[in-house]
């Protein structure tokens, strides 16, 4: 089985972000960037399938600026075989990301495409589903367990009522949730070896896909501030406060 994994370079999830004062967006200059956390789980799932003898090649693809090479290298150090960077400095919407990934899938013909369920910057939670729609493949989103069988997968998904296990034929799309596995930290020798692995950098124009945005971002604003409250001295005072709130709700 051949696996394609899409990884995105995002503002590190530990960074407390700041909205620019001119409302044009979030400040991303000079902040720490790293691989989207969900995508690490997607890469780890691919590597585990390879280690179990179920996959023989893992190709990593990222769309973004030159620096996105770093996240591809992280994935190669975790055990993937080669990388493709589709280079652009433009804002690429999820529909365009999905179209570019479809173009790569048409070339590479993978049996399985793994993605993160969402990217922690835009929190869109679109790309896997859109790619599945464009390819006409079945999808298993929000995966917390993947079992590979003959010609198909059994995937456990995190849904509103708990978990649901579904069977789907290959080729298929799976998007990773955080409980899928524990991503490894690549040891130094693996990091060194990653630099030897093939990494193709291809300008976005090569794909002939219109990536001009469909949505206009009018402004980006900070959320409403929550003014801090007060501390109460004991449980009786806390109970009185909560009881007051409950009675107010009942009166409505």
């Amino acid at each position: 089985m051949k696996i394609l994994v899409a990884v995105k370079r995002v503002v590190d999830h530990n960074v407390r972000i700041r909205v620019r004062s001119d409302s044009s967006g979030v400040e991303t200059d000079n902040v720490r960037m790293s691989m989207n956390p969900f995508d690490k789980h997607a890469v780890e799932a691919a590597v585990q399938l390879a280690e179990a003898g179920k996959a023989d090649e893992i190709v990593i693809v990222s769309i973004g600026p030159k620096q996105a090479n770093d996240v591809i290298l992280t994935a190669l150090a975790m055990g993937a075989h080669r990388g493709v960077l589709i280079e652009t400095n433009e804002r690429v919407e999820t529909l365009a990301v999905a179209k570019l990934l479809k173009a790569v899938a048409d070339e590479e013909k993978p049996d399985l495409i793994l993605l993160g369920k969402q990217a922690v910057d835009d929190d869109s939670n679109h790309v896997g589903q859109m790619l599945a729609g464009l390819l006409g493949w079945p999808q298993a989103t929000f995966a917390s367990e993947i079992k590979a069988g003959e010609g198909g997968l059994e995937v456990t998904r995190e849904v509103d009522y708990g978990r649901a296990t579904i069977a789907l034929p290959l080729p298929a799309i799976v998007t990773a949730d955080l409980r899928l596995n524990t991503p490894r930290n690549a040891a130094l020798p693996m990091v060194m070896k990653a630099r030897q692995k093939p990494l193709a950098v291809r300008p976005v124009a090569e794909f002939g896909i219109d990536i001009s945005p469909r949505l206009v971002i009018d402004k980006v604003s900070p959320p409403a501030e929550r003014p801090g409250g007060r501390q109460v001295a004991d449980t009786a005072e806390l109970a009185a406060f909560i009881a007051g709130e409950v009675k107010e709700l009942e009166a409505l």
């Binding site: 999830h13 407390r16 972000i17 909205v19 979030v26 919407e93 999820t94 529909l95 969402q118 922690v120 835009d122 929190d123 869109s124 939670n125 679109h126 896997g128 589903q129 859109m130 790619l131 599945a132 729609g133 999808q139 989103t141 509103d160 009522y161 708990g162 978990r163 649901a164 296990t165 579904i166 069977a167 789907l168 034929p169 409980r179 945005p213 469909r214 949505l215 206009v216 971002i217 009018d218 980006v220 604003s221 900070p222 959320p223 929550r226 801090g228 409250g229 007060r230 501390q231 109460v232 004991d234 449980t235 009786a236 806390l238 109970a239 009185a240 909560i242 009881a243 409950v246 709700l249």
Partner: protein, 319 residues
């Protein structure tokens, strides 16, 4: 052109969130139809028809729709799409799964997780775990949207919309449900509850979470948990609140032994009042709480349950 709202339902019950998604759909200013897709869904259709303000309920019945799958529902919506100016779902599991797939099929950019509607083409959506709000304008020919239900007030239940059948022929299920692992619990729906009691990893065990549940019972509240508590196996995954769990907007959120990591805060920004019980006065959740008690949860919570009982709160509950 009219708006189509996809009803959310499970085990023959209309999800309470749908009344909120309909309210958001009405804000787009066009007549609203509700689509009920499933197999055995008469009760759901009846409940949907009672929602106020709608033009009609359309029911698509097919064995292929017996369990919700993105492939089957988006194929159905693709057939109906030419009749509508906007297609809207809640941003719960089914809507998140279906709407982007549908949008790609229509060659459109979806706008998802909408928390405010300024005009039929201008929306607010949170990004970066709610640490920024993006206002987007979509000048596309059609809108494909998901709504964060907790951000909208539900419509009333006094309606009587006509119920019509839709042809669901030719819709095939590609995936097959093998097993559903449901969390057995009699607490209210987390996504729409008025009061939520949340527990963190410091609750220490699944046994410890019984204490959180007892407090919730006393208050008629739903139970939430942090990712750390879910990962530790103390609480089921569908209780997780936050950026990657459920987004809630209760009138009162009571956070017990929760630090207030930004990914958790992302899920509770819509809460009207926040109460924190924590040993650490410096915890971020204590800083943003309306009312905080500094103390050990294992001492505070049992006392609190007793005090509430004394104050006549939740008489019939098994607190």
């Amino acid at each position: 052109m009219a708006t189509l709202v996809l009803a959310d339902h499970d085990l023959g019950q209309l999800a309470p969130a749908t009344a909120r998604v309909v309210a958001a759909g009405l804000q787009l200013g066009a007549p609203v139809d509700v689509l009920v897709a499933g197999d055995d869904v008469d009760k759901v259709a009846t409940a949907a028809a009672a929602l106020e303000g709608m033009a009609r309920v359309r029911v698509a019945r097919s064995a292929a729709l017996a369990t919700p799958s993105a492939e089957a529902i988006s194929a159905l919506l693709l057939k109906l799409a030419p009749e509508y100016g906007a297609i809207v779902a809640g941003s719960a599991a089914v809507g998140r799964d279906v709407i982007p797939r549908l949008a790609a099929g229509l060659d459109l950019m979806p706008v998802t997780d909408i928390v405010a509607i300024h005009a039929a083409n201008r929306f607010d959506r949170p990004i970066y775990a709610g640490n920024a709000i993006e206002t987007v304008v979509s000048n596309q020919t059609q809108q494909v949207l998901t709504i964060r239900a907790s951000a909208f007030r539900p419509v009333g239940q006094g309606g009587s919309a006509p119920v019509e059948q839709v042809d669901a022929g030719g819709i095939a299920a590609v995936t097959r449900l093998l097993a559903a692992h449901r969390t057995e619990s009699d607490v209210p729906d987390l996504a729409t509850a008025q009061i939520v009691v949340g527990g963190g990893v410091s609750v220490g065990s699944a046994e410890g979470f019984k204490l959180i549940e007892r407090l919730a019972h006393r208050l008629g509240a739903a139970v939430g948990a942090t990712r750390a508590a879910v990962d530790a196996g103390y609480a089921p995954n569908d209780w997780q609140v936050g950026q990657t769990g459920k987004i809630i907007a209760p009138d009162v959120y009571i956070a017990v032994g929760i630090s207030g990591a930004l990914q958790h805060l992302a899920g509770i920004q819509g809460a009207k009042k926040i109460v924190a019980i924590n040993t650490d006065p410096e915890a971020p959740l204590v800083k943003i709480a309306d009312v905080a008690l500094i103390g050990d949860l294992f001492a505070v919570v049992p006392e609190l349950i007793e005090e509430l009982a004394r104050l006549g709160i939740g008489g019939q509950a098994q607190g």
